[in-house]
Each structure stands twice: as structure tokens, then as C-alpha cells.
């Protein structure tokens, strides 16, 4: 049943013949947790890249640093690698303080955004580089390179020159070059941003499977919230050098901690609250019932929670008190699995726009110009603070 030859070498983490998906292969070494305390980075000239960051990353976790460019996520990653030094604070990996350890003495490896392969070396020598620097014997090195080349399915390219490879292949070589060192932590700096959409989603899946299979701690940096949600166990959203929220993709998307996170996660239905009375809030689209007890200055309604029916139709849940408003369809975007409607709503003098995402169940679609009845469950009206520091 197994295709292994009797002389097969004792297995490293990459040596197993294609294991079934989801099975957790034994990690090469104990995965490591990361702990940052009061990390601050200030550049000469007074530019503050990071403002007192506290962060705990669990062992074996796929952790993502998400934020717009210039938010400090790359600086944070470079500090983990040792390529940047914090101005203040301590950083420990696997319980050991590495704040002052230079990069070549940390068991941390990085997949760079530009891949940063060595163009004058072959694929083989690129992959083997870290092992060579650590002084591993040639024979052992060669064997490991072959194993990992099989693992990333690039065995046939091993003697090519780097400039003969496509972007996706280079990306995989960069991954192999870092993985082969079996680091405590693997850092990935927007590794997929240079690839086209199809290849990108394919490599997202591969990367995720690799991480689950090795059980290694991955710290991933991206500015793409969808990519972050697909890949991560947990996400830290950063802005202006401050962590805005840490949580699972579901938490961050469904319960954004503040207006910035909500906007960054792609939410558009945001309505300022002018007054609150008990569980009702006054907004530009009228008075809304909510079940959110938190104080907030902005109401968030996720587009997929809107219920659309024809004007005369009965309520979607007759026994319950739902928020109801009449809207007109302004635009319709058909996406196959779902349909996005842009709706306009007139409340007295106030004109507002709403976005609804309805999963396509094969029912009749509304047309542009149609009047529709929009119903919103009170539990889907979420209160947000509009200050951007409440983590």
C-alpha cells in the first residue's frame, strides 16, 4: 500500500509520501508561541511606525497581520525576523527573549514579498542555502532538498536557474527555501500579492494545507481582508501602528471593534447614530431596533443580513418585531452565487444608500427601479465606536 522503498530515509516532516489531506503530520520541532510586550518603533525624524504593541501568537497558529499600507504590519514582521530593531519593548519566541538576537541567529525564516531568491544560484542551491549556512553536510542537504522539492511539487525544476521560473514557481521556491530550515516560526510578507488571481487562490489553499500539515507557527502579512479571512486562525487588524482588533476571522468580520475595522473589512452599511433611547437608535434611515447593548456612535448592518421581499409580501418572520424600510433598487450586480443590490432609501429629507447581498436561491430577482421591502433583524444592527483605538 505504501509506495515507500525499504531504503527510504528516515522521515523529516517533508519526506512522507503525499499524506491524506488534513492529517496532522508530526512537526519537525515543537511549534513556538510568540509574545510581544510594549513593542514600539520610532524612526529617526519622529515617525512612529508602531505604538506600544502587545500581542500573543499561539504555537502552531496561522496568524495574520492585516492592515492598509503604512499601518506597521511589515515593520512588525521585520522585527520578528530580526531585520528591524524595536525602539522599546521585548519580543520572545518560544519563551526565549530574542529582542537583541541578530537575524542569522534566530530560528525564524521569512518568505519575502519579492521572493528575494539569489539569481546567480540554481533552484537547488537556493533551497539548500539555509542548511548550508548552518553547516549541514552535503549529502544530508541534498536529500532534504529533494524531499522538499517533491513536497512543493517542483522536483523537476530543481536544476533550473531562478530566472527561468514563473512567478508562482518562484513563490514556491521561496517557501521551500524557508521551510527547509524547519524554523520555529515562518514569516510571510505578502507572499501572494504579486500573483494573478487564479494562481493566488490556488496557492492560498496550498499554503494553508502546508501549515496545517506541518503544525508550524505562521505569521502572515497582507492588506487583503478576504485573503486574511480565508487563511487565518486569528487576525490582528492594524492601523497607524496600533492594533485595532484581534480575533478570529468571524469575530473580526461580524463584530468589528470599531469603525476602522468595519470599513477595512469591507462594510458599507454604516449609519451615524444621532440619538439612543433604550434599545432603539435614531439613524438617517429611520429609527432602528437593536439588541446590541454597547454604546456606539455608528450602526453597522452587514449586507448579507438584509432580507428583501416584494412590497406587499408578509414579513419573513411574522412572530418577531423586525426593522422594516422601503427602498428602491438602484443597481444590481449579478455574481452567480449571490446578487448584490444597491438600494436607495428616502427618510423624510434624508437620502441614504444601502447595500444588500442576497444569496441566489433561484427565486425571481428584483429589477432596477423595483420597490422592495427591506427587513432587518434587531440582532443584526451592531453598535460601533468611531474612535479607532478601542481594541
Amino acid at each position: 500500500m505504501a509506495e515507500r522503498s525499504p531504503t527510504a530515509a528516515p522521515g523529516g516532516p517533508f519526506s512522507s509520501v503525499e499524506s491524506t489531506t488534513g492529517s496532522e503530520a508530526s512537526a519537525a520541532r515543537e511549534a513556538s508561541s510568540i509574545s510581544l510586550k510594549g513593542i514600539r518603533k520610532e524612526y529617526p525624524g519622529g515617525v512612529v511606525a508602531l505604538e506600544s504593541v502587545d500581542l500573543n501568537i499561539r504555537a502552531g497558529e496561522f496568524f495574520t497581520l492585516l492592515g492598509p499600507s503604512g499601518c506597521g504590519k511589515t515593520t512588525l514582521l521585520r522585527m520578528l525576523a530580526g531585520l528591524d530593531e524595536p525602539s522599546a519593548g521585548t519580543l520572545s519566541i518560544g519563551g526565549v527573549d530574542v529582542t537583541d538576537t541578530p537575524p542569522h541567529k534566530r530560528s525564524v525564516n521569512t518568505v519575502f514579498q519579492s521572493y528575494a531568491l539569489f539569481p546567480h544560484l540554481s533552484v537547488r542551491d537556493n533551497i539548500a542555502f539555509g542548511l548550508k549556512m548552518r553547516g549541514m553536510a552535503r549529502a544530508e542537504r541534498e536529500q532534504k532538498v529533494v524531499e522538499i522539492a517533491e513536497f512543493i511539487k517542483l522536483g523537476s525544476l530543481i536544476d533550473r536557474r531562478v530566472d527561468q521560473l514563473s512567478g508562482g514557481q518562484r513563490q514556491r521556491i521561496a517557501l521551500a527555501r524557508a521551510l527547509i530550515c524547519e524554523p520555529d516560526v515562518l514569516l510571510l510578507d505578502e507572499p501572494l500579492s504579486a500573483l494573478d488571481a487564479g494562481l493566488r487562490s490556488q496557492l492560498q489553499v496550498e499554503l494553508l494545507r502546508t501549515q496545517k500539515r506541518l503544525g508550524m507557527t505562521f505569521v502572515f502579512v497582507t492588506h487583503d481582508q478576504e485573503e486574511a479571512m480565508v487563511m487565518s486562525d486569528r487576525i490582528a487588524v492594524l492601523n497607524d501602528g496600533i492594533i485595532q482588533q484581534i480575533g478570529s476571522p468571524q469575530e473580526v468580520y461580524e463584530r468589528p471593534a470599531n469603525l476602522f475595522v468595519a470599513r477595512f473589512m469591507g462594510h458599507d452599511n454604516l449609519f451615524p447614530i444621532s440619538a439612543r433611547e433604550g434599545m432603539t437608535v435614531k439613524t438617517p434611515i429611520g429609527t432602528l431596533e437593536t439588541e446590541d447593548k454597547n454604546e456606539g456612535r455608528v450602526a453597522l448592518i452587514r449586507p448579507e443580513t438584509l432580507e428583501l421581499t416584494a412590497p406587499g409580501a408578509p414579513s419573513v418572520e411574522p412572530g418577531k418585531q423586525l426593522n422594516m424600510l422601503m427602498c428602491r433598487v438602484v443597481e444590481r450586480f449579478y455574481r452567480g452565487s449571490n446578487v448584490e443590490y444597491r438600494l436607495s432609501h428616502q427618510h423624510g429629507e434624508q437620502h441614504s444608500e444601502l447595500i444588500a447581498e442576497i444569496s441566489n436561491t433561484g427565486d425571481r430577482l428584483f429589477r432596477v427601479g423595483d420597490e422592495v421591502k427591506v427587513e432587518i433583524y434587531p440582532e443584526d444592527v451592531i453598535m460601533l465606536s468611531d474612535d479607532e483605538e478601542g481594541a
Partner: protein, 304 residues
């Protein structure tokens, strides 16, 4: 079918003629003013020296034997010393130029953009002055009785009252000073587009600072280094002005030998043989550098 063929042939003939007409003036120019004189010079190298210094038939290898030191007084090593000095001086000064220019170029590339322009200017501007004038400047600094010479004498590097000029040392110094910009500029160009991610990748993959240099910095600057080497070593090999002015009679190089044979010594065949040798040495040098570039993995973007 046949008709199409005829049309094609006519068109091709027209294109050929067009091409010829546009290339011809330049080709003629090069032929008349470069190829013919060079051919004449080469042929002179195989002629015999006449009684009044005019080259004449029959064709012999006398000039080359002369160059190797066989004169009518028997063999003397003077010319071979000159040759050796040319090789030695150009190699030594190339090495020193690299040692000075590499860190300078690296440093400039890391400065703020405005400062970079000023520093590059500081490197280049001296070379706008006439070579002869600069050589005279060095004479003033190095001749006997100057501060530098006294210092060297006190340190026991030279005999008292000898001065640092004229000497082989003065020639080397002059060459290094003269050719420095030709190395700094191509190296700076290479450093300016240095991919720093490669350096970080090497550090990240456990390379010590020294290994990082050899893996991530040197290969990236190799094209600039080789281009600079060509720009320095080849003109240095045939240099005339600097050994003439700073070397005195005992520090002659091949260029001076050739010049004197065409001038005072009036032995054109010997001068032509020296020039031919210079040409050959240049080609060999280029070939070696090219090989080195390939071996060290410069790839297709190599400058030479």
C-alpha cells in the same frame, strides 16, 4: 507564382541597396581612418628599420626580437622590464582602485539623494582637470623636501633626501588617483539598484555578515566591478602621461617605450611591435575578464 517570386526578389534587392547606402559612409570612415592605419601599423611591425629610422622591406621578425631585448649589443632585459612593469602596474593599481572605490561607491549609494549627487560630483570633478596638470600636482606633493617625502624618510620607507617622486610608487599612486572615478561610477550604478531584499534573505537564512556579502552583495555588483575593471586596467596598461611625468627614466611603461621608438629612438618597427603587443594584451585582458564574469555567474546582463 513566378511573378510573386520576381516581386519579392525586386523588393529584397531594393532593401539591400537601401541598407548598403545607409551603412556605407560610416563603414568607409572606419575603414579609411581606423582599419587602414591599423593595418599599416601592423605591417610596419614586420618591417626592417632603415638607416634613417624609416621602415623598409624586407619583412622580418627583427622588431619582435628587438622588443624581447636582442639588440646589436646582445641581449638586455630593459624592454622586458618595461613590459613587466606595465603588467605589474596595471594589476596593482586595479587592485588598489577596487579596494578604494568599492566602499566609496557603497557609501555614496546609501547617502541621502541630494548628498549622493554632491559626492559623485566630488569624485568626478577632479578628472575634468588635465591629466598633465594633475600629475604636476602630485610632483609637488611628492618631490624631495616635501612634508610627505620627509615623513616617508623618517619612517625609513625611503632613503633620506630621495623623495617619493620619481618612483614606481609615484606611478602607482598616479594611476590609482587617475582611474578612481572610472571604477566608482559603474560600481555606484550597481549599488544604486542593489536588491536589499536579497541581503535580508541571506541574513534571515543564517548567513554571517561576511557570507552575506559574498552571496548577496558581491554577485549583484559584479557587472559594475567588471565594467570598472575594463575601464581601469586597459587604459592603465598603455598609460603614457603618468609614468612619463611621475616615473622618471626608470619607471617606464609600454606606452613610453612605443612613444620613444616613434620619436627620439626612431625605430618605427620596434614601436609598431610594441603597439601590436599592447593591442593583443588588451584583447587577452578583455577575454579573461569576460570569462571571469561568466564563471562568477554574471549571466546575460554582463557589460562586456
Amino acid at each position: 507564382m513566378n511573378q510573386v517570386d520576381v516581386v519579392w526578389r525586386r523588393r529584397r534587392r531594393r532593401e539591400t541597396r537601401h541598407l548598403l547606402m545607409s551603412v556605407l559612409p560610416g563603414a568607409l570612415w572606419i575603414f579609411i581612418f581606423l582599419v587602414l592605419p591599423s593595418a599599416y601599423l601592423m605591417s610596419v611591425a614586420f618591417m626592417t628599420n632603415g638607416g634613417f629610422g624609416q621602415p623598409q622591406l624586407p619583412l622580418t621578425l627583427d622588431a619582435f626580437r628587438n622588443l624581447a631585448g636582442f639588440g646589436f649589443l646582445g641581449w638586455s632585459p630593459g624592454n622586458l622590464y618595461t613590459l613587466w612593469r606595465s603588467v605589474f602596474q596595471s594589476v596593482i593599481s586595479l587592485g588598489l582602485v577596487v579596494l578604494v572605490a568599492y566602499p566609496v561607491a557603497w557609501y555614496i549609494s546609501m547617502c541621502r539623494p541630494r548628498l549622493r549627487a554632491i559626492m559623485l560630483l566630488a569624485v568626478v570633478v577632479p578628472s575634468w582637470t588635465n591629466q598633465v596638470i594633475r600629475a604636476f600636482g602630485w610632483m609637488n606633493l611628492l618631490s624631495p623636501g616635501t612634508t610627505l617625502s620627509d615623513l616617508a624618510a623618517r619612517l625609513g620607507l625611503i632613503a633620506p633626501n630621495m623623495g617619493l617622486f620619481p618612483s614606481d610608487f609615484a606611478v602607482t599612486l598616479g594611476l590609482v588617483y587617475n582611474f578612481l572615478p572610472f571604477m566608482v561610477l559603474p560600481l555606484y550604478a550597481a549599488f544604486e539598484k542593489l536588491d536589499h531584499a536579497q541581503i535580508e534573505a541571506a541574513r534571515d537564512l543564517y548567513a554571517s555578515p561576511l557570507r552575506t556579502f559574498f552571496v548577496a552583495v558581491l554577485p549583484q555588483t559584479l557587472p559594475g566591478l567588471l565594467a570598472g575593471s575594463v575601464l581601469v586596467a586597459i587604459p592603465a596598461f598603455g598609460m603614457y602621461v603618468i609614468p612619463e611625468l611621475l616615473g622618471g627614466g626608470r619607471s617606464q611603461m609600454l606606452g613610453n617605450l612605443v612613444a620613444s621608438q616613434f620619436g627620439d629612438a626612431a625605430n618605427w618597427p620596434l614601436g609598431a611591435a610594441g603597439a601590436l603587443l599592447m593591442l593583443l594584451a588588451t584583447f587577452v585582458g578583455l577575454l579573461v575578464l569576460r570569462r571571469m564574469g561568466r564563471r562568477l555567474g554574471g549571466g546575460s546582463e554582463m557589460v562586456i
